[in-house]
């Protein structure tokens, strides 16, 4: 690989940056029209143009047509049935009246006014993991799709014709991808997954016009890299979609667990930058800072949850903050300019840490590392939350997250070896609750029983004071954000994605996945 080494400003991590001229993506757009990524800086309410709705990750809409007073009349506008086995786990993307919905190997373009299929792209059958897919991204006249066999495809937004198809990494080594790409200016930024092999954590940027690679960030170096800061760990995959602060020109991404997963002895030390939030320059992939939410993780607690960006007055001082409710059970607040800790406090049952250090990082209890006779650990592998998106309700300052109190059993013995999972673990019990945290203190303001195991639905809040999500059964829910009271519900099958909302022709829609279908709800037409 024709890379050059670059050292981050804190002098702690090497990234391999491909020396490439920046392509003239803006020039191409001016010539051909299409979706200008500058629109992502202030998305209009008739779009949901990127995974989180905008760059902040707040998943909070300004729309107010649907209110706590009228939401009980919400009715089905249309449904789109994929007729596929896979549940809808993706956030639909809406641009120019067309919704883009994905499952592994599949992308549908749907008329957002009627739910009618415009076109359907199906990727050729492949052997990689088909665990789920998080969504697409748009730029110009292209819509981007990652595939289980770790390709990145650009399709024509209006026909589904393949414009280009590049390999992100070699999937035969054990990588797969579920990732919803993030477009920042003329970069399409994509991540991959891989827990069953000892693989370096890879995030890559491609030119949206040509598919040419621009840079690669490694959260952990390739196995055998001398002087590695990861302590011999591989992993730290960046499989969820990051957030972006245009003023600081900084991309924030959560990194996954180290490998070997349960064998901590094979990789002594903190294992940077696994289970971390990393701040990157989106033009070069260079690391600005990192914050490790789970140092030396031995429980598969990816810090992949959404790094939510919030500007707020804290203690009389304007702060640029980053909020994450992390899989390990801790809610962390960072200064996103510096990566310094502002707050670290549990939001769910945990029993694996000895406390929180002065640097804001939980201190893992060595006695809770997986052992031959098993350790009872809270949370379980699925975590106190997971990839499902939280939402920040700006008006009330509530951070609403689908949480779980859960216990798991973790086993390790030397016979398990040093490769891939290298252990065994089992969920004992898990109970899901929607929790609303005071964003500044992390205190739980209200809880809403989801009646079962950890739910799989993400959360959407709106400026009218509504929270949309799904429970652990088969219901989509609308709650009053101020106190968590249920105002509307409907049984549409298990909700496994994060709801979105937009307004078309003066009508506000809320779109939610239920089972293998997508449902659009709106107020009755007058």
């Amino acid at each position: 690989m024709n890379g050059m080494a670059a050292v981050g400003p804190r002098g702690v991590l090497c990234t391999w940056v491909f020396a490439l001229a920046t392509s003239g993506g803006g020039v191409a757009l001016a010539q051909t029209g299409g979706f200008d990524p500058a629109r992502l800086l202030a998305p209009s309410s008739d779009t949901w143009p990127t995974f989180h709705g905008d760059y902040s990750g707040q998943r909070h809409s300004r729309l107010t047509q649907i209110t706590p007073d009228n939401v009980r009349t919400l009715t089905l506008a249309w449904a789109f049935q994929t007729d596929a086995e896979d549940a809808i786990k993706a956030t639909p993307i809406l641009v120019d009246g067309i919704l883009y919905v994905t499952t592994p190997d599949n992308l549908w373009a749907i008329d957002a006014r009627s739910g009618r299929e415009i076109w359907h792209y199906q990727h050729p059958p492949n052997n990689a993991f088909h665990i789920g897919h998080r969504g697409a991204a748009v730029y110009g006249n292209s819509v981007f799709l990652t595939t289980p066999d770790t390709h990145l495809l650009a399709l024509d937004r209006f026909t589904g014709a393949v414009q280009w198809n590049v390999e992100i990494v070699d999937s035969s080594r054990g990588y797969w991808s579920t990732n919803a790409p993030l477009v920042i200016r003329n970069h399409v930024i994509v991540g991959v997954s891989g827990d069953f092999d000892n693989l370096p954590g890879v995030l890559r940027a491609f030119d949206p016009a040509t598919g040419r690679p621009q840079w690669t960030f490694y959260s952990t170096p390739p196995a055998g890299t001398p002087g590695s800061i990861s302590g011999g760990a591989t992993g730290g995959q960046m499989w969820t979609t990051g957030t972006f602060d245009p003023d600081l020109n900084t991309l924030y991404v959560g990194t996954g667990n180290p490998t070997p997963v349960l064998n901590g002895g094979a990789r002594p030390g903190d294992n940077r930058w696994t289970c971390s939030i990393v701040a990157l320059n989106p033009d070069t992939g260079e690391l600005k800072w990192g914050f490790q939410v789970s140092p030396h993780d031995t429980h598969d607690w990816d810090a992949s949850e959404v790094p939510v960006l919030v500007d707020a007055n804290v203690g009389g001082k304007a702060r640029k903050l980053l909020l994450q409710a992390s899989r390990n059970g801790y809610y962390v607040v960072l200064d996103r300019a510096t990566g310094q800790s502002v707050l670290t406090t549990p939001f769910a049952t945990t029993n694996w840490a000895l406390g929180v250090g002065a640097d804001g990082r939980p201190i893992p209890n060595p006695a809770k590392e997986p052992a031959r006779d098993g350790r009872l650990v809270a949370p379980d592998e699925g975590g106190a939350t997971n990839y499902r998106s939280p939402s920040f309700a700006a008006e009330s300052g509530l951070f609403v997250v689908s949480a779980a109190d859960a216990y798991g059993l973790y086993f390790f013995k030397p016979e398990y070896g040093r490769y891939g999972w290298a252990g065994a673990d089992y969920t004992v019990a898990s109970r899901g609750e929607l929790r609303a945290l005071d964003f500044a203190t992390g205190q739980v303001r209200w809880r809403h029983d989801l009646h079962g195991r950890a739910a799989s639905a993400g959360v959407l809040t709106t400026a009218s004071g509504l929270t949309f999500t799904g429970d652990a059964g088969n219901s989509a829910l609308a709650l009053r954000t101020s106190d968590g009271t249920t105002l509307w519900h409907t049984g549409i099958g298990r909700v496994a994605n994060s709801p979105i909302t937009y307004e078309l022709d003066g009508r506000q829609y809320v779109v939610i996945g239920g089972g293998s279908a997508v449902y659009a709800f709106a107020l009755p037409e007058p």
Partner: protein, 265 residues
Amino acid sequence: MFSSVPVGLAQNVSATSPAAQPLPRSASTQTYAPDLVAAGRTRFAAACGFCHGPEATGGSSGPDLTRSAVVAADEHGDRIGALVRTGRATAGMPAFPALSDADLAAIAAFIHEQKTKAEAETGDRRSVEPEDLVTGNARAGRRYFATACASCHSADGDLAGVASRYEGLDLLRNMLYPRGPRPTATATVTTRDGATVTGTLAYRDEFTIALTTAAGEYRSWPVDRVRLEIRDPLQAHFEQLGRYTDATMHDVLAYLQTLRQDTAR
């Protein structure tokens, strides 16, 4: 910040750990064409591998299929096929209704091939052996049981011979949070006209409650139209999970391991 690091448990385990617990043996000798097994590996990896592991030897949410009684009893997919098509909702396994007969045959062939390999293996597999789990102190466990568990359970009542019914990891997991057969929650529903119906809890979420009556009938009500009284024995198990230390958990397990059929009164 903290004064001392809790000391890990003493590991009262022999250094060599022969696989004392044999796998359930296949009911019949079966052979499958290499092409079919190879196709099955591909289909298995894509459809089943995330939960059951790419080698079918288990993951966080799916069991090790080389140790499955269903697989041991299966011949050419006759049992695996039906289970895969319908899923096991109670165990969290989804249904795969759309898999073709050819895919199912290939997946079954691959699972059998993995089982045959596992039966020939000597170690180094990611599963938990019963002798890994004998670190506790049964006497201490008996004392702990008397204070934490005895209000619902007794060694010569419901748990008589429990260690003959479950062992190893299966016993530990059922001890922590019963998996199957689960103890049934019961409930009484009082309707607005004052009628009461009692039965075992068939379903409960925020909006719907359903009971199975003594006559075997399924009945359901909107939660907001009735009064509910639910008795769920699993609630106490969930609360107990927050009270165990690893030491007391292993002690209670050691105590339960003494409750074998031949010692039951």
